[in-house]
Symmetry: C2
Subunit: 504 residues, 2 copies
């Protein structure tokens, strides 16, 4: 295990600047956390004003002349930098360039545009009126295209946007990746739809009181191993994880009485994010590196805990007795195997956030293909609903009945987040590749069934979590598995799992 020491980094001007940014961001994050977990509504505007001021102060530092000088000073001696300092330079340089290369008036106009776009999108979605969102979306795309020109790109302009969420990722790599994924999932889904075996999911809507679901959440946290002395769980409208650094990582969930699996898997998913955050090494605690490296690696961890651990038969066997003690007689006719099968049933559906493990990446592929077309100017925004629906028909075999449940379903584009969606699938694929390597060292089934998930976490911590933002995704994956991202692991994992499940 490489030993890291942030002493050198902490003696730099860059550290002094990022340390200020860190404090401002912690303050802003705390205001945001508070706002999402029960702050009195009447204070929203006032707190949002303070939050915006803290964030923009941190932002101003990230693109300040002071920052420029601090970066140049270190870049002059680039070859002599230790890994911690080099990583901090890499991150700060990227932030600096991605903003400073854009004319300030355009950046301001864009920020104003996106500040109002979410409301416009939300109204359009509610009224099923794509035309009402189209002009705004057109502008957002135009800005993003121009920005990639200012910022520069290699190969496809979309690469620059991908790189914001998954450092180093390119369309070449993703095209090959998604081609394989599509070639496997589309026929597999068809076989499942036509399979003799049908999975009974009727019982998952039996009501479980919020009080019992809270006990269940506590049980899951304990079994999964999220550390409540350095974290906590609260309720919010939508589940999320927020990190105040390694020592304080917080998760939320939302309880629905007749959908206990919703909270069940959101808790495990967010625990995965949380455990990643809690596993970062001492040397970089409370620095700008005390955070996950990328969206994709983050999702690889949350989905590893959610799907590879939480959706395994072993896990249901592990928690079954304590689960039954909590939910009581209502479920006494249901076996661990029935829970396991219901939690894994696969079917074509319209809404990404409700999709199952198998079909999830199909939703992502559609968005990836469309984003690439948009950023490369190959389609017009007004064509989007048609193209969207055609792709859903082609890949999933269903057509959205309206745009609210189609092209208008996601918030991302209204926030200008192009290049974000692929991370979700990359997370799944990294996870499968990590799993394949892990299985050489560990007997996962046995560890899960016997409640030794801590040993799995230790394995992940040593290879991924501890590095925080030091190592980029491609280096992490290569160090773990000896090769670059390889979709074969992911498609094999899905094929094996769902063929067995549906007795294909």
């Amino acid at each position: 295990m490489a030993e890291y020491d942030s002493k050198t980094f902490k003696s730099t001007t860059l550290y002094a600047i990022t340390d200020k940014m860190w404090s401002l961001n912690i303050g802003a994050s705390m205001l945001s956390w508070d706002m999402h977990t029960g702050a009195p509504e009447g204070g929203n505007e006032s707190r949002a004003k303070a939050l915006a001021a803290l964030s923009s102060e941190a932002f101003a530092l990230s693109i300040s002349d002071e920052m420029k000088r601090a970066l140049e000073e270190l870049e002059d001696v680039q070859d002599n930098l230790d890994e911690i300092t080099a990583a901090a330079v890499r991150i700060c340089r990227k932030n600096y360039d991605s903003t400073r290369k854009i004319p300030i008036e355009e950046m301001r106009a864009y920020q104003e545009l996106t500040a109002n776009a979410e409301t416009i999108w939300r109204n359009a979605k509610q009224k099923n009126d794509f035309a009402a969102f189209a002009p705004t979306l057109t502008q957002i795309i135009a800005y993003n295209k121009r920005f990639t020109t200012y910022r520069g790109f290699t190969g496809n302009p979309y690469n620059t946007l991908l790189d914001d969420y998954e450092p180093g990722m390119t369309t070449d790599e993703l095209d090959a990746f998604f081609a394989k994924v599509k070639a496997t999932i589309v026929p597999l889904l068809k076989r499942i739809t036509e399979a003799k075996k049908k999975i009974d999911t009727s019982f998952v809507n039996r009501p479980i009181s919020v009080k019992k679901q809270k006990k269940l959440a506590a049980l899951l946290i304990e079994k999964i191993g999220f550390d409540l002395t350095h974290g906590q769980i609260r309720e919010s409208a939508h589940p999320f994880t927020t990190s105040f650094g390694r020592n304080d990582v917080r998760i939320t969930t939302h309880y629905y009485e007749t959908e206990f699996l919703s909270s069940f898997y959101s808790v495990i998913h967010e625990c995965g994010h949380g455990i990643y955050g809690q596993g970062i090494m001492d040397g970089i605690v409370d620095t700008i590196l005390d955070n996950g490296i990328s969206m994709g690696i983050g999702e690889s961890q949350s989905r590893f805990y959610e799907n590879m651990i939480g959706r395994s038969l072993s896990f249901w066997e592990l928690i079954y007795p304590e689960l039954m003690a909590i939910v009581g007689d209502e479920f006494k006719d249901i076996t661990a195997k029935q829970f396991y099968e219901a939690a894994n049933s696969a079917r074509a559906s319209l809404i990404r956030v409700e999709a199952d493990e198998l079909t999830y990446s199909l939703h992502v592929i559609i968005r990836y293909e469309i984003e690439k077309l948009l950023i490369n100017g190959e389609i017009d925004v007004m064509e989007l609903p048609r193209i969207w629906n055609e792709k859903y028909q082609e890949y999933l075999g269903i057509t959205p009945p309206d745009d609210s449940r189609g092209v208008l379903q996601d918030v991302h584009w209204s926030a200008g987040m192009f290049g974000y969606f692929p991370s979700y699938s990359l997370g799944n694929a990294y996870g499968a590749q990590i799993l394949a390597t892990m299985e050489k060292d560990l007997d996962l089934k046995e560890l899960i069934r016997s409640g030794n998930i801590g040993k799995i976490t230790a394995w992940l911590r040593e290879r991924i979590h501890r590095y925080g933002s030091i190592k980029i995704p491609s280096d992490l994956i290569r160090a773990i598995s000896g090769e670059a991202l390889n979709a074969d692991y992911y498609v094999r994992y899905l094929t094996d799992k769902f063929e067995a499940l549906y007795e294909l």
Copy 2:
């Protein structure tokens, strides 16, 4: 009602600086609120680091050259300033001077000293070892004496410290005030101790579950009129109120199963602080003036709700039916009058924070007299335990069995808070003076009994709350009652109330 408009203030450089300070302080306050209401312990140090950074950034602005220029610019046209701008100048000038007049090395050394003093004090208190705290306390006092010299003073050096908590207050005024208070309470307490009538308080320790006490707290909040759309209640080790500005004021309480009156009155007390904070006028929302004007006026409001409203027979009559519905059969033998009497029983005691309404000011007088002696160099720190105990014997007729329950009981001195204690008594006295005026306009008994506390709040809002930090205490009191602070109201209020209660 004077109409205020902050437009002019908001066009000044001073506003731009204080607005930044406001955001930083909101961030710091949110971190502090979070830390006291359930943050995971493992993150304490990390969050404290961010909190300190935000606070010191705000502090740096308050004593910056930029601040100096902004103040001078406005002070040049002092006579033409509107009241809002003038108040902001007054507050910022005071902050600026109180720090900048002190040599920076001394300020730093003092901050270091007090940063460690609380732990030293806490250990000394725990071990009943005054000598272990004495050297630190001696240093803290020496610094405060020197600081008053640097900062300048009129009359008594202690005046400069008093002014930090109660703008404009002097030892001359306080000497006269406390003389009257002492002359009334000491003999009145003696008469109560010797009175035939004894109040039964045995039932107040009957257990009430935390769940029921929470319902009770909700009932009190509703009856008192604390607005939960612009505020909230949580639990903390010690009750407190924190304001994020008019639109978001938060209170806490602590539940003890066998001391339901503890949470009961802490909720009403903090609601009083909260209602003050929620009553500030539109014109100064989310500015540096969106806060109570002083400790004393703040306590006058919290104690008005706690004592004048919450400890009245009318209030117990108001809540009695709903109270009984919550606490159930356990208390069915207790009448509203018995609750009222138990909540007002008076007796000499050792601990200030547990003292009743009558004897509270005696605890304060002792501290005031001692602080004056210390700051004027008339006694040595090592004499403190003896002097403390002598004064407790003289004023309350009891002697602390040890220093933990004597001179070591309060945290204030370890934080260098000299001049703070008198505010507690001033709050009581302001409250009585306000009450005397209010009674000319309103039939309080009737309003309380009939659940119309909102009308009392409206009266206070119009005359006090709305002004936030615009008007200083002496102006507020004079505007309300037509005269300066007059202890006669307070001593008359206590005499009338306790003579009736104890049938003297």
